[in-house]
């Protein structure tokens, strides 16, 4: 039995996310603790619940099925999260919380691979560098249209002034084809949270025929079902047996039940530097006598073709039959093959999606590629494949910055946002132990997209099989993803926020 999720209490950005065309992230600094707390409480009625978000998602799907345009929203969606500094300002002891949350992201910056200056401040950070630009609260909001979103931001800021001042206001949007600035479709591979709504429906739709044993493991083919304790406090944890629920994830304090931790990183993407590194790697391979098709290198650094087609499923080229099919775009493993998967839906014979061969050695999808480094699926790692699923996070990335010519150094990139119940064991583990490490989860090099080693030149090498299937070690120097700041936050439930912000006397049970 999957647990009943408290959909009217859990914040809707944690799950299922906003999925809006326009988004904004607002980092705020607390100026007056008591007055600021009261002012923030006034935003509480506007915070979006999981039930609201699920409803909106459902109506979008209905419109899509009917061939109608995405419905326009009436009101903005809002998520509210709070840093340890604010909790301490309000008299809370944060030492029993996740260690990274308690210490703050700046204390973790060196571990995360951000270059650190002589004053111990990350050299690229533009906020959260000192008390002057400290971030105490993060608001994330979304709307189908930009103008009403701007109006809402203006209204919220005036409600919060002068007790809160903005440190960062960053608007973002869904780009064409959901592509990030390097040109790859993003946000494809999300874990599917287990659990049911009060109406008895799974919160993650299941599409595999019930008689196939994979229906116990996956929502869509290849999309692993994860027990909600990985993302929400008070629910069963993920275990190595996958199908069996673990013990309930205990909240660090009672008001964090139905809550989560949020990681925010503002990541610049320097498209010019990335393209130059790709060109250099192409040249290196050609000097080794390789015939390198256009787009081959960048796709092999990512692990997918730009349209999202996984290299494991289609090693030679992008395949719209795969990338346009939500049931195929994630249907691959690295270690073991997948036989044809029958889908639910009552067809006779049932509709079936094709088999996918394995790729343990990385002939198709290099072991060092981004998607294998941050999610080894069933492949090899130093911690053992049975523990991989416990590292997954709910990611809510938002593209920001101008649409300019390819080679400019524009200030643009991705607002990385992830939800998890352990920053240390999930976000930080994946960034430090896998993305930044040259010997883990495999020994073929650091993550070519987000891996960094704390230096400004970020010199590294990756090993991969070339188009002629010879193993090549290639230089891959430069920094094309640069963190300019960020933070760790708690994301209490509606009830938790009510308690925390003293909105009424009632405390959560």
């Amino acid at each position: 039995m999957e647990p009943l999720l408290d959909a009217t209490d859990i914040q809707g950005h944690v799950f299922p996310g906003f999925g809006t065309s326009h988004s904004v992230v607002i980092a705020l600094q607390l100026r007056a603790p008591a007055e600021g707390r009261a002012a923030l409480g006034h935003l509480l009625p506007e915070v979006t619940t999981m039930a609201d978000s699920l409803h909106l998602k459902g109506s979008r799907r209905e419109a899509a099925v009917a061939g109608l345009p995405r419905p326009m929203q009436q009101i903005p969606l809002l998520a509210l999260s709070i840093a340890a500094t604010a909790l301490r300002a309000w008299g809370h002891d944060t030492s029993g919380f996740d260690l990274s949350f308690h210490m703050g992201m700046r204390a973790d910056a060196a571990s995360l691979g951000d270059p650190i200056g002589q004053d111990s401040i990350p050299v690229d950070w533009t906020f959260e560098t000192s008390e002057d630009d400290r971030v105490d609260v993060l608001l994330i909001a979304g709307h189908s249209e930009r103008v009403p979103l701007e109006q809402a931001v203006e209204r919220w800021l005036s409600m919060l002034a002068p007790h809160w001042t903005p440190v960062l206001i960053e608007y973002g949007r869904r780009r064409a084809g959901d592509k990030e600035f390097f040109g790859f479709k993003d946000g494809i591979s999300q874990p599917a949270m287990r659990g049911v709504t009060p109406g008895g429906e799974f919160v993650s739709r299941r599409v595999i025929a019930a008689e196939d044993p994979r229906s116990e493991l996956f929502a869509k083919p290849g999309q692993l079902l994860i027990w909600p304790g990985s993302f929400l406090f008070g629910y069963p944890c993920q275990t190595s047996s996958l199908t069996q629920p673990g013990a309930k994830m205990p909240p660090p304090v009672p008001w964090m039940r139905n809550g989560s931790y949020l990681v925010f990183r503002r990541l610049l993407q320097n498209v010019r530097v990335f393209r130059e590194a790709v060109t250099k790697m192409e040249q290196h391979l050609m000097e080794q006598g390789e015939n390198v098709p256009e787009g081959w290198v960048s796709a092999h650094l990512v692990g997918r073709w730009p349209d999202g087609t996984p290299l494991t499923a289609s090693p030679e080229n992008a395949d719209p039959d795969i990338s346009d099919d939500q049931n195929r775009i994630n249907n691959f493993r690295f270690f073991a093959s997948l036989s044809p998967t029958p889908l639910a839906g009552g067809g006779d014979p049932p509709e079936t999606i094709p088999a996918v061969p394995p790729d343990p050695l990385g002939f198709g999808c290099p072991r060092a590629s981004h998607i294998r480094q941050v999610n080894p699926r069933d492949g090899i790692s130093e911690i053992g494949q049975e523990h991989h699923s416990g590292k997954l996070m709910l990611r809510r990335g938002i593209a920001f910055g101008p649409e300019e010519e390819e080679m400019s150094d524009a200030d643009r990139g991705l607002l990385f946002l992830s939800y998890q119940t352990s920053i240390v064991e999930q976000f930080k583990f994946v960034q430090v132990n896998w993305a930044n490490a040259t010997q883990r989860p495999t020994g073929d090099g650091a993550d070519p997209i987000i891996g960094q080693n704390g230096t400004l030149d970020n010199e590294r090498r990756i090993q991969l099989f070339s188009p002629s299937r010879r193993q090549q070690r290639c230089p891959l120097d430069g920094r094309w993803v640069v963190a300019t700041g960020g933070g760790y936050f708690v994301v209490p439930s509606i009830g938790g926020l009510r308690h925390l912000l003293h909105v009424d006397e009632e405390s959560p049970s």
Partner: protein
Amino acid sequence: MKYLPPGRIDDFARSSIANHLEEAWHERVKEQIDQYRDLARFLDPLDADDTAAREVIPWTGFPRIYDAWLNIDKNPDLVERARRMNRAHRSAEILNGFTYVKFGDRFFQVPADPTNGWMLIPEIDGEPSFQDAFSLVERPQDEYLEWFVVRDPVTNRITRIDFTAEAPEYWETLAEGDPDLAQELYSELLGFNVPKEDLFFQHDVLCPELVRVSGRLQIVGHVRLTGYEAGQYNRWNKWNTERGAVHLTQRNNTLFAEINLAARATQRFAIRPDLGANVDRFALTACGGYGALNRNSDPTIGQSVNTLALSGFQVMVSNPIGLYIGNIDVSGFRDPDGNAVERDEILTVHRGTFEDEDGLARVLRFSVHPPAGADYGLESCAIDRHPLSTGGPVARQTTVVIHGIATPASGDNPLAECAARACAHPTKDPQYFLAIDPDADCPANDDERWMEAPVTLAPDESRMTAVRGAPRTSGERMG
């Protein structure tokens, strides 16, 4: 081409008989390699050229068996998990005393026990000298990474934790070829003068011979233990066990175990991956009958090698064959004030390198220590909140690797039957396994085979009751 010393370490060059030592090591490895040449997917690493594919096979250096038995993932509560991990760290530093016994026509390594005479007996002047009965000790750290906590004898502060992945067989070759060089290296690595005679057995060694009488084991005599004659190197000498760590000691932590495991894992076994997300590395290990089931290392090595072999490659570990430290992450280190410290100030690599001539990591030995001039010991520092009063927190952040090498294969790889199957303990998380006969049923949840701890455990600190003052019998009551 010769089989090189692990990590291309150049100890032999310091000897007046360098060529002899190089040859002796080459022959010793070759003798092992030759045993596996009949396996269809086995590759002699000397036959591989630059076009061979390489695969780094990584695992975590802290013994998985403690985490499994102590159920560290069972309770997600951070405090409880930290408490169990701390107990695992303390447990992993309890030395195992052992001896050998002969039973039937085989020798067994068993826990030493003076009360029933299960001890080793030196033969002095042609006679067993029972009054000099002794046992050997090994560290229980079984992921091919072992460590020793060095304390200042005056202040008792921890001045250093030494970590090693060096093979005992290499040191045996070196010490038996050039005992003076062995003494020199021991003294350099440990930082004080080690008496040469301590490194070698001074007398031939006898062990008890057992028979079963009325269901009970009885000693019927003592027999000579081959390989433990006077003058032979004692890999469990006190300077490598109770007083320091120069190379690996745990019974399974040997280079030739690694060769054996990698070679046997090249076979095609009669086991199929399930439809689920996992191709179970433990099930494969049990089926293959190689390695220890509850380690992180052996199942990972076996699965990696097996995948390469099933993907159409001849596979082995590349020359120089060795167990290596591939990565050490001390970014979570905090000094007593909670401040991070530069990696170079607290971490020293003594043997091997992270960037060998072929670009691969081949570190053999490193230490973690306080920065030069610090007025504190490691016991007041922490890694990821775990106190460095033990080496466990560092071992958790250490990745041990072997370097696989593969060339395209042709021909059939015959199917090998499963030797056993893995049964998972009903409640442990991470999972704890028993290997049983492939056709037998797994033990019931209340079976006694699940009850006995496979390792010696340190006391559970939460069960130690604090009392106000000392008991009456041993002193005055404190106010």
